[in-house]
């Protein structure tokens, strides 16, 4: 299996030298994200996120299942992530690496455990039927910042997704097709955004949105997840360089600004997409406040 080529001695010393002078290889400032591109698929629940050369695709789907017996009033929400050779030839299919475990746990904590999705709204008949929402994350190209990109992809796809409408008459549950009734959006409680910081030169320099090359050289990293209101969901720091409280505070402040910016971009793209859909699918006619024949 081809192993990822480590940065050469020249690249290593050059990048660190440049960082010492506050220069990055791609010309960004230290606390600037690469350009975020977000697009949606033709049908609901497909989000394609590009951060520079990193590309992540998230697909949300729903099916009706029996809820867990210990949580009869809640629906089920799962996120699956798999790093395959599509992203980088260094990733083997089927075998979980440490990086992959950390990545999936980070995203899980950021989105599922922070209650971004209201699982109680997914209940159809208590103890018998509920919606299972599944988010599949596909990594198409790996140029660093996989956590940040996949978090954006999942929250965007969740907000974009529409599940079929359901009506209940006594014991009988009817799931209406997408054409029969207007599908309903999921109930999203808040939009968490991950911002990953990379530390260099014993914590003197910290970068956001590191590229793959920068990630390979970092001494430590830390992920802060929060929403645009500044509600902190997690701070994840799995080993690496120890950093002091002042730097942590500075990172948190940067993260708040970045989360606001990213959430705004996601929101704007969702609105643009919705506007296109209304025109394309004649959705104005299907609104409840219209007269029906």
């Amino acid at each position: 299996m081809p192993r990822e080529l480590d940065p050469t001695i020249n690249e290593k010393s050059f990048i660190l030298d440049a960082l010492n002078q506050k220069l990055r290889i791609d010309g960004r400032d230290l606390d600037v994200f690469r350009e975020l591109e977000l697009s949606f698929g033709d049908d609901y629940g497909l989000a394609d996120v590009r951060l520079g050369k990193t590309r992540v695709l998230a697909r949300v789907s729903a099916e009706v299942v029996k809820p867990f017996t210990d949580r009869p009033f809640e629906g089920i929400f799962t996120i699956t992530t798999e790093l395959g050779p599509m992203a980088s030839p260094a990733f083997e299919p089927g075998r979980q690496t440490e990086q992959e475990v950390l990545l999936s746990r980070l995203i899980e904590k950021a989105i599922r455990r922070s209650n971004a999705l209201d699982t109680e709204s997914l209940c159809i008949v208590a103890g018998q039927k509920c919606w299972q929402i599944r988010a599949d994350v596909h990594f198409l190209s790996h140029d660093g910042a996989l956590v940040d990109a996949s978090c954006i992809a999942v929250v965007a796809a969740l907000q974009h997704f529409r599940r079929p409408d359901v009506s209940i008459e006594g014991e009988k549950v009817t799931i209406h097709t997408m054409t029969e009734r207007v599908p309903v959006p999921l109930s999203i409680l808040h939009v968490p955004i991950c911002v990953t910081f990379s530390f260099y030169l014993d914590g003197e320099v910290c970068l956001v949105d590191a590229t793959l090359q920068e990630e390979q050289l970092r001494q430590g990293d830390m992920t802060i997840t929060l929403n645009k209101f500044g509600e902190l969901c997690q701070i994840a720091k799995a080993g690496g360089l120890a950093i002091n409280a002042l730097i942590l505070l500075r990172c948190a402040k940067i993260a708040l600004v970045k989360a606001g910016e990213i959430a705004a971009i996601v929101q704007r793209r969702l609105e643009e997409d919705a506007a296109v859909r209304v025109r394309r699918d004649n959705l104005l006619e299907s609104k409840a406040d219209n007269e029906r024949a």
């Binding site: 081809p2 990822e4 080529l5 480590d6 940065p7 050469t8 001695i9 020249n10 690249e11 290593k12 010393s13 050059f14 990048i15 030298d17 440049a18 002078q21 220069l23 290889i25 010309g27 050369k53 990193t54 980088s88 030839p89 260094a90 190209s141 790996h142 140029d143 660093g144 590229t211 793959l212 090359q213």
Partner: protein
Amino acid sequence: MSLAVHFPGETLPPLEEDEKKNTTFKVGPGLTHILPSTLIVNRAGELNIDQRKHTIWMESNGKRYVASQNDTIIATVLRSTSDSYICAIPSSNSPVSSTSQAVLPHLAFPQATKKTRPMLHQGSVVFARISLANKHIDPELECYDADSGKAEGFGELKGGFVFGVSLGMARRLLGDAKKTRLLRVKQRRAEAERRGEEYQDAGADMSSGKEVLEELGQNLSFELAVGRNGRVWVHSGDPKTTLCVMRCIQQSEFLTGKEQRQLAKEALKALGQ
């Protein structure tokens, strides 16, 4: 004689009869020779025929490098064995480049003996020539000039920064494009004459690919090495200069000569030169 795009698997039509009979053509990359006289395309691209040098080859851009003999390349040392260094030849795919392995014998340096060989460590960058390339075994590298036996710039590249450009861009930086272009202009002119038309050089401001370097070289001092595997090494005293050169080269790939000069001028201005 005309320039044409061909796809893999196509059989080339028989070559036009030359004035000189019985000339043998050299078959270059992208073509497979099947005896006695069939040529099959194995890489999509433009067919080039140089009647003067009796060569025929396919020209196309790509990112994955396949080793071929006498190419000068930039490789990375992976590890050392008892008698040779195992190197990786990176291609220019990004963000993660695919690599192929190559062998660089300890004695393949100018005047190297067992005691005086240069010490290379894991992650060192070397500028080398491929001395042996075969489909079935790993290629072999050499760090001296084949004619003189001297270093002539080959060997370890110290300091600086290495980045990738497409294989076509690397060839252009090495000056191949000029040859190809001259050839094309000549071919087009001959074609136009045959049809009895006036020839117009439509590609007058086409790029030779090196304008950006010429412009930068007049104002900045830096060292540069280009490998045919799509890797470029730049070294200068100041990281800012190195980054400026790197960005100019990367951005100039699809620009004409005029635009390249413009780009370099603006970059120099931004650098404060």
